[in-house]
């Protein structure tokens, strides 16, 4: 592919600046071919489940799939940013629980304010909790130089534990029923409110990533921290803001689920960080940072969601769903690496 001979003229080849592997020229880190193959996989699942499932191609399935996918779309946006920066956020699932529990707790203690204000105060409190956990993550990682895996593993435990402490280990049900009406409404029968919220978050994420300096700096820090630093990028601030974004988005998901189920449960969101990370990885992102796309994450989140609703429609026992998601992750990454190896050997 490359026409340029790569004869070394220097004895110091080992010290950096190695010639690039002849990767195909691209404008995006996740190729169009990859996106198309994800769309193909998604379409194939739809076809298979249309055959095996009873009443799969229905408005009901569409609504339950989009509603189910909403949480993974929002957590997926959070993880896409964090993974692009070369990190990971294991705490988002327990932030969903903690923010939901805190929101419910605040609502249950502010009935005297009236329905509207207590909902607003509860939601604001829930979001503040997510931002706070994100700020702690960002501080530990950017200033304390703790690896993201360890730092967020710690806050995962802290947030999950606090959710149990505050709720006493059982769901808080003393919340205004109106939040259920808001969260479970559907626009025109085809657009569940949760899905609309997820689409808004996606649009916001896309704007941040492609349209703003912050988005470029997030990708630069994940692509090459030393280069970003040399170029004067305030990488500590970028990382701090990135984890605050991640915690804040997790709290948005927590508020939505609080509305959907009309309870603040410490069990909500448990292990959901794994599905969110899976969606990002299936979408073509690299855990080494720099590479990834929101569109890929959207496909990943829908592939996971449709597996779940499709297997339910096909009357496959629920335990098999986790197996199926696991297989999809491994296969997706394996195919990626095969292509990568082939690329390097040309």
């Amino acid at each position: 592919m490359s026409t340029v001979p790569t004869v070394s003229t220097s004895p110091e080849v080992e010290s950096g600046a190695l010639p690039a592997p002849p990767t195909p020229r691209a404008t995006r880190t996740v190729s169009l071919a990859r996106q198309l193959s994800l769309a193909g996989v998604l379409a194939a699942f739809v076809v298979v489940f249309a055959i095996t499932g009873t009443g799969f191609l229905s408005q009901e399935t569409w609504n339950s799939t989009t509603q189910y996918a909403s949480e993974f779309l929002i957590l997926g946006v959070a993880e896409t940013f964090v993974i692009l920066s070369g990190g990971i956020d294991l705490s988002v699932g327990s932030v969903v629980a903690l923010s939901g529990v805190c929101g419910a707790w605040i609502m249950s203690h502010t009935h005297s304010l009236g329905t509207g204000p207590e909902i607003i105060v509860g939601v604001a409190g829930a979001l503040a909790v997510g931002v706070l956990v994100g700020a702690v993550n960002g501080f530990l990682i950017a200033v304390g130089r703790i690896t993201p895996f360890i730092a967020t593993l710690g806050t995962l435990g802290i947030a999950a534990g606090l959710a149990n402490v505050i709720s006493g280990g059982s769901p808080i049900t003393d919340v205004p029923g109106q939040i259920g009406n808001i969260a479970n409404q559907s626009f025109g029968g085809w657009l569940p409110a949760l899905f609309v919220a997820a689409l808004v978050v996606l649009a916001f994420g896309g704007w941040l990533l492609r349209g703003t300096r912050f988005g470029i700096h997030v990708r630069a820090v994940g692509s090459s921290l030393s280069s970003a630093r040399e170029a004067g990028v305030a990488y500590r601030s970028v990382l701090l803001r990135n984890y605050i974004l991640s915690g804040g988005l997790a709290a948005v998901a927590g508020v939505l689920l609080l509305g959907q189920f009309v309870i603040g449960s410490p069990l909500t969101g448990a292990n959901d960080e794994l599905n969110a990370i899976a969606a990002v990885v299936i979408g073509g992102a690299s855990l080494a940072g720099g590479r990834g796309s929101l569109l890929g994450t959207v496909f990943g989140a829908f592939i996971i969601s449709i597996l779940v609703t499709g297997l339910i429609a096909s009357h496959v026992p629920a335990f098999w769903q986790e197996v199926a998601v696991g297989v999809v992750i491994v296969v997706a990454v394996f195919i990626d690496q095969l292509k990568d190896r082939a690329g390097r050997e040309i």
Binding site: P5, T9, S10, A17, T212, I216, G222, S227
Partner: protein, 265 residues
């Protein structure tokens, strides 16, 4: 051969100590606009230390720096950029997953005017245009400004890195082994590129082990050995063998206090 002009950068008695190790001692250096100066020496001779001092990446333990006749203290690469010194380190300072434009403007993105700019939105059109101009000046073909750098060759990456210095309006460009690990053809392209920087009246200092290229491209050659300057010679009047003699210590200039060095008081 360049007409002798006042140096744009003057360093006197520059030294750097890392604990017990004296990496650099008593080095005088002068860079002039439109002149290419090469820095030669064996591994550990102090070349990288000197470039780090001039680029703001390291602070000297001794010595003074003057740029455009004014005393400067460079505490960071940012400081250096503000007085017109841009450095292309060996790793090129490139983020491979970013596009050409994003790399060229990394850390100095142009914001949109007004509120949108305050929200962090960038003037992509202006950045794109300026990058196109800079890239066309270095005259190395790139597949496109919206292509990610990961897919490009070593010479093309070098061109992206040098385009960064053009955007920064550098009057002094420091190049740390610009042709290390490049192929024959790409090396000659990068040599052309350095020639074009000189033609644009930029003062260039490059570290290189490629002595034939050094002799062909440079106006002056400064040779370091064990952290000290052992030679500061006119490239046109010397050969590769002379430079090797200085590098290996078979020849030492009897301290020809560089004219420039006496100009700093």
């Amino acid at each position: 051969m360049a007409v002798p002009t006042d140096p744009i950068l003057l360093g006197r008695n520059l030294g750097k100590r890392y604990g017990a190790i004296e990496a650099l001692a008593g080095v005088d250096i002068a860079l002039r606009s439109g002149e290419v100066t090469s820095l030669c020496g064996d591994n550990g001779a102090g070349k990288s230390t000197l470039v780090k001092i001039l680029s703001g990446a390291a602070t000297p333990t001794t010595g003074k720096l003057q740029i455009n006749g004014e005393a400067v203290r460079l505490r960071s690469p940012r400081d250096a950029q503000q007085v017109g010194v841009e450095t292309v380190f060996q790793d090129l300072g490139i983020a491979p997953h970013l596009t050409v434009t994003e790399n060229v403007f990394l850390g100095r993105e142009i914001p949109l005017p007004g509120l949108l700019g305050k929200l962090g939105m960038m003037d992509r059109k202006a950045m794109h245009g300026a990058t196109g101009d800079a890239v066309s000046r270095v005259k190395i073909n790139l597949p496109g400004l919206d292509y990610i750098v990961e897919s490009m060759s070593g010479g093309q990456r070098q061109a992206v890195a040098v385009s960064r210095t053009i955007i920064g309006r550098a009057s002094i460009v420091l190049l740390d082994e610009p042709t290390a690990a490049l192929g024959v053809q790409e090396t000659s392209r990068v040599a052309d590129l350095i020639g074009r920087l000189r033609d644009a009246r930029v003062a260039v200092l490059m570290i290189s082990h490629d002595l034939p290229m050094v002799m062909e491209l440079s106006d002056r050659v400064v040779i370091l050995r064990h952290g000290r300057k052992v030679g500061d010679i006119d490239a046109a009047e010397h050969t590769v063998d002379d430079v090797i003699a200085y590098i290996t210590g078979h020849k030492v200039q009897d301290q020809p206090r560089h004219r420039a060095a006496q100009e700093i008081s």
